[in-house]
């Protein structure tokens, strides 16, 4: 058994994601990051919303919380504030986080509350069978975009940054090894951390968009996503075709739970 496998609920495996689904790769990376940091398994909480990606909480052997669609962040905020000693990790999907959960996302980032959010971005609503998400690229097809999408997707890393996140990174299922580090660094950041993880959904996205097998989709990622340094060397035009990976942004700001602790102190509640 690999060390990180102690973080799986092995009796619930194999998971029910489709053959070739990238969510399994991303989940493994989280487990590895936790192993790497040697977090206390009993003091770590995984919170998710609803979606294929959000099933991950059920497979991971921590206190785990599978909330409602889009609502992982308010729950996670409550957990963190109620017990700041817990490591709170949020697993979410592109629909869960950026569509229905968009407001919670920007507000959690604004508060810089110490949560680590890993967005499993498969560019689609996987669970409900392939509807467009706010991260579906222009011209891609979806069951609710039968003529191709035309509204621009968000850049979730930029949204997180503007909203106030203090650690932002992008990784992919293809670049599975460096992804572990990106997540680990996010967990270590005392503040709101966001790791966009590109994953393939061969079933609800790849097939409809004729992107080939899961392996072919991973291959695509390997070409499209390049290290930030390399990306920065590209011309503006060249950048249109590419996405930077790695740590994209860090900043230092007071963390919400810690700041509130000060207020409790100021009010005398630390002695209560």
């Amino acid at each position: 058994m690999r060390d990180y496998e102690t973080f799986f609920r092995t009796n619930r495996l194999p998971h029910i994601w489709c053959p070739g689904c990238g969510h399994g790769i991303a989940m493994k990376a989280i487990a590895k990051a936790i192993a790497k940091l040697d977090l206390d398994q009993d003091k770590t909480v995984i919170v998710s919303g609803i979606g294929c990606s959000s099933r991950a909480s059920g497979y991971m052997d921590f206190d785990t919380l599978h909330t409602a669609h889009g609502r992982a962040l308010p729950f996670a905020t409550g957990i963190k504030l109620a017990n700041p000693e817990l490591n709170v990790i949020v697993i979410t999907g592109d629909g869960d986080c950026m569509a229905i959960g968009g407001n919670h996302f920007i507000h959690a980032a604004r508060r810089n509350i110490d949560l680590t959010v890993i967005l499993f971005n498969n560019n689609i609503y996987g669970m409900t069978g392939g509807q467009a998400s706010p991260l579906t690229p222009v011209e891609k097809k979806a069951t609710t975009a039968p003529y191709g999408t035309f509204d621009r997707p968000f850049n979730p890393c930029e949204v997180a940054k503007t909203a106030g996140a203090t650690y932002i990174a992008r990784g992919t299922a293809f670049h599975a090894a460096p992804l572990v580090d990106l997540i680990a660094q996010g967990i270590q950041n005392k503040g709101f951390s966001f790791i966009e993880t590109l994953v393939q959904c061969p079933t609800s996205y790849g097939r409809r968009n004729k992107m080939g097998s899961a392996a072919a989709m991973l291959k695509d990622m390997s070409e499209t996503v390049i290290p930030l340094a390399a990306y920065n060397r590209l011309s503006t035009e060249e950048r249109n075709e590419k996405l930077p990976s790695g740590v994209l942004h860090t900043d230092v700001f007071p963390e919400y739970a810690a700041e509130y602790a000060k207020i409790i102190k100021q009010a005398g509640g630390d002695k209560a």
Partner: protein, 64 residues
Amino acid sequence: MIIKVNARFCKGCNICVAFCPKQVLALDSMGKVCVVDESACIGCGQCELRCPDFAIRINKEEKA
């Protein structure tokens, strides 16, 4: 190298096969991964790294 396959977990997605640099792996008729040339394996771990189902594992030959 010892290549361990967990057939119960393997969903035959072909990712490991596609990314193996040495053509060590293939899918069998039941759509599960199988090792076709273990000796060619260089232990690079690409297969294990990206298997979404925790179904394949590369162990360096254990001593004793």
